[in-house]
């Protein structure tokens, strides 16, 4: 209204609109979405990718607006496939309004992206976020002067603290900007020659070497112009970048006042966190705490879910139904749903821990410290975190690979993780190790962990060799330390856990039901399970495994590795029948479980800093006695190696499917089985 250069009219609000948020990484875009429309946060995938898409809905009078958070990017010309989503989305599904989120404490670089986006010809408004950090750095941002200089509405915000008052009002005044930058003559002339064929924005992208979809004629002309520019002088990308920086600096000088300020806390803190001597121990401590937080605090709730599962199974068994149907409900449906839900406490806490590390700035520091170690496997430093988490549980570790920006890195780490010996494999390890190698049991278990780690690294390394030559670019920004917006973290973690239940729940349930059918449907006087196990046994004879009951237990082990122990117990010692439960009895049982879970959580919090305790030597159980008669030590070792390496569990597989896609997940199962078989064969020859 008062802005003299804002003559083009503001875009009129339609009944249904989609607004896209674009900005550098770590500028608080998701905080902004949360502050504007928090309650309706949704996470999904970008079409055709496994990259997370965050969105939310809000109502503005009669209109319904979808806010879409595009991946953080430094330039519209992508430097990683993740950033590529931004340009593709803006060109293929142009949003009704584009909100460009700027970092108030690093305005110059943010402005370069804004100038780039202003070429697109979309209705735009700017949001200068992180004004609190700018202030702490002694920077005073004059929003009015920015409006004047760019001819666009500009709002200020501190999204993490919910200070977003003017944002919606300015977004409603969004308007199509004029092209803001005059490029050096050779570039402008080339653009002028392309202008009759294609819009300026597309011509510019094509001249800078970005493959944008163009009509054949324009494609040819653009390629010729680019050739000419490359032949004549400096790279057009450098020319354009320089021109944008000059314009950005001009705008910056008009809008920002610098005052003296003490060096930011971040720099002082980094002297400690990244210290040459203290850095590594501090890093290991942080890793250890994240690990403990996730697994110690989730354990009581996983127990509660297990107890609820028992109670529901007991109730189902008390129903007046045919025996097979009762068993289907109790040991199929209830067990399947229970399996899915048993992962939710771990996932929720892990998502919380990861989001905390990421938004607080610690994740970037951890990547910095671990980078050198990861270079051996040709991976970025950030890959360290999912690999460590894999020792707790493979499922959240696979989801944690989403923090890696390059899909190839994500793929390699995700395929390495299933070899890491998760907590569920430990019961099998201890059962066999103490039965067959009582004196060297800890050594055997430790050796298995090392073997798993080695196979994981080898997989990542070989995949890296097979898929591309060099190692990826490791350059990344070190964002300042920030106190994370806790409400956003809780909402995000909940939404992500929900996405696991929706995306992975179906396949897991189906697999459990299939295993139930194998175990319980009568077939030719036996069960399909026994028949299948007997048919598979000849394959395992070379490994020293002659007993079909051992081979059979590997089949339900596909649902979850700890089930192997239970399955062995049933086939060697006979079934431990589930007993029907009365209504009141079951409720009392549940109540006790809830109390125990709360108490366990408090204990877990108190024990966060306590050292680990491994379950050590115990009396040989009847099952162990039976096992020692069924197989030789060499066969037992082969069995352990096989259990370590073959497909960890259906939930891991479902997670892989969500993160790297179904085809790759299926291929990885074949690879794991093959590797497990070959190494088990080798292991069976180690002992006489």
């Amino acid at each position: 209204m008062s802005c003299p250069r804002c003559d083009p009219p503001a875009a009129v609000l339609k009944a249904e609109e989609r607004w896209a948020l674009v900005g550098n990484p770590n500028t608080g875009k998701s905080s902004l979405v949360n502050a504007l429309a928090g309650a309706s946060l949704e996470v999904g995938n970008w079409p055709g990718t496994t990259l997370e898409r965050l969105s939310a809905h809000l109502r503005l009078g009669e209109a319904r607006v979808e806010l879409v958070d595009l991946p953080g990017t430094y330039s519209l010309l992508p430097t990683s496939p993740e950033e590529g989503v931004v340009l593709k989305e803006l060109l293929q599904h142009p949003p009704d309004r584009l909100l460009l989120v700027l970092d108030g404490s690093n305005l110059e670089r943010s402005l370069v992206l804004a100038l780039e986006a202003m070429e697109l010809g979309l209705p735009m408004a700017l949001v200068v976020n992180l004004l609190d950090e700018a202030e702490a750095k002694g920077l005073e941002v004059d929003l009015k002067a920015l409006e004047e200089a760019l001819g666009l509405p500009v709002a200020g915000a501190v999204a993490s603290r919910g200070r977003v008052e003017g944002v919606l009002e300015k977004a409603l005044q969004a308007r199509v900007p004029e092209a803001p930058v005059r490029y050096p003559p050779p570039l402008e002339e080339a653009l002028g020659r392309l202008e009759p064929l294609i819009p300026r924005a597309l011509g510019l992208l094509a001249l800078l070497g970005e493959g944008v979809p163009l009509p054949p004629e324009a494609q040819k002309r653009a390629a010729e112009e680019r050739e000419r520019l490359l032949a004549e002088g400096p790279d057009p990308y450098l020319l354009a970048l320089e021109a944008r920086y000059q314009k950005a600096q001009e705008v910056y000088r008009k809008a920002v006042r610098r005052k003296e300020a003490p060096p930011p806390l971040t720099e002082r803190l980094d002297r400690l966190v990244l210290h040459p001597l203290l850095g590594l121990p501090l890093f290991l401590l942080a890793m250890f705490l994240a690990f403990r937080f996730t697994f110690a605090l989730s354990a009581p709730w996983v127990d509660l879910i297990g107890r609820a599962q028992e109670v529901l199974a007991g109730w189902s068994l008390a129903l007046p139904l045919p025996a097979l149907l009762r068993s289907f409900l109790a040991e199929g449906v209830v067990a399947g749903v229970g399996t899915v839900l048993s992962f939710t406490p771990v996932l929720f806490l892990l998502y919380l821990a990861l989001a905390f590390l990421e938004t607080s700035g610690f994740l970037a520091r951890m990547a910095f410290v671990a980078d050198r170690l990861m270079q051996w496997a040709g991976l970025p430093g950030k890959a360290f975190i999912p690999l460590v988490l894999g020792f707790g549980c493979n499922v959240p570790a696979i989801y944690a690979t989403r923090a890696l920006s390059h899909p190839l890195d994500r793929l390699r780490v995700a395929l390495a993780i299933p070899f890491l010996a998760c907590g569920a494999r430990l019961p099998v390890f201890t059962l066999f190790a103490f039965a067959f190698f009582p004196k060297q049991a800890p050594l055997v278990v430790f050796g298995l962990y090392l073997l798993g780690l080695g196979m994981g690294f080898l997989t990542a390394f070989l995949l890296g060799k097979a898929l591309r030559a060099g190692t990826g670019e490791g350059a990344m920004e070190l964002p300042p330390y920030r106190f994370p917006p806790l409400r956003l973290l809780l909402r995000l973690s909940l939404a992500r856990t929900g996405s696991f239940v929706r995306g992975a729940g179906g396949p897991i349930l189906l697999a459990v039901l299939l295993i139930w059918a194998l175990l319980h449907v009568p077939l030719a006087g036996s069960t399909p399970y026994a028949l299948l196990a007997q048919a598979l046994t000849p394959l395992f004879r070379p490994l020293g495994l002659e007993d079909w009951r051992l081979v059979g237990a590997l089949i339900p082990g596909f649902v979850a590795k700890e089930v192997v122990v239970g399955a062995l117990g049933v086939s060697f010692l006979g079934a431990e029948a589930l007993s029907p439960l009365g209504l009141l009895e079951g409720l009392r049982h549940l109540g006790e479980g809830l109390l125990q879970a709360v108490w366990g959580t408090l204990q877990g919090l108190a024990a966060l800093f306590a050292p680990f305790s491994l379950p050590l030597a115990h009396e040989p159980t009847p099952l162990q006695a039976a096992l020692t008669k069924a197989v030789t030590p060499a066969g037992a070792l082969a069995y352990l190696v096989f259990v370590l390496l073959y497909t960890p569990c259906v939930a891991t597989l479902a997670a892989l499917r969500q993160v790297v896609g179904g085809r790759v997940a299926a291929l990885s199962v074949g690879y794991q089985l093959l590797l497990a078989y070959l190494l088990a064969l080798a292991a069976s020859r180690v002992l006489p």
Partner: protein, 77 residues
């Protein structure tokens, strides 16, 4: 004498960037562009990567990448 690269500078050194290969777009987009003032702040506990300040941006940079960034070292003010 060949121009020194960013990887040659010890922690604490300041320099002006002279050349970044145009195909290293990520470095350029992160703000490591010709003409910008840089300061090497730290090296990681295991010797690699480096922490570098370029303008208002703090970057984590592997030595292999830093060696492609040619610089002109500046005397201490």
């Amino acid at each position: 004498m060949p121009m020194p690269s960013l990887a040659h500078l010890p922690p604490g050194a300041r320099a002006r960037v002279l050349r970044v290969p145009p195909e290293r777009r990520r470095l350029l987009a992160l703000g490591l562009r010709p003409g910008v003032l840089v300061e090497v702040l730290l090296q990681a506990p295991l010797g690699d990567p480096l922490e570098v300040r370029a303008g208002d941006t703090f970057l984590l940079l592997r030595r292999s990448e830093a060696s492609q960034v040619l610089v002109e070292a500046l005397e201490e003010a």
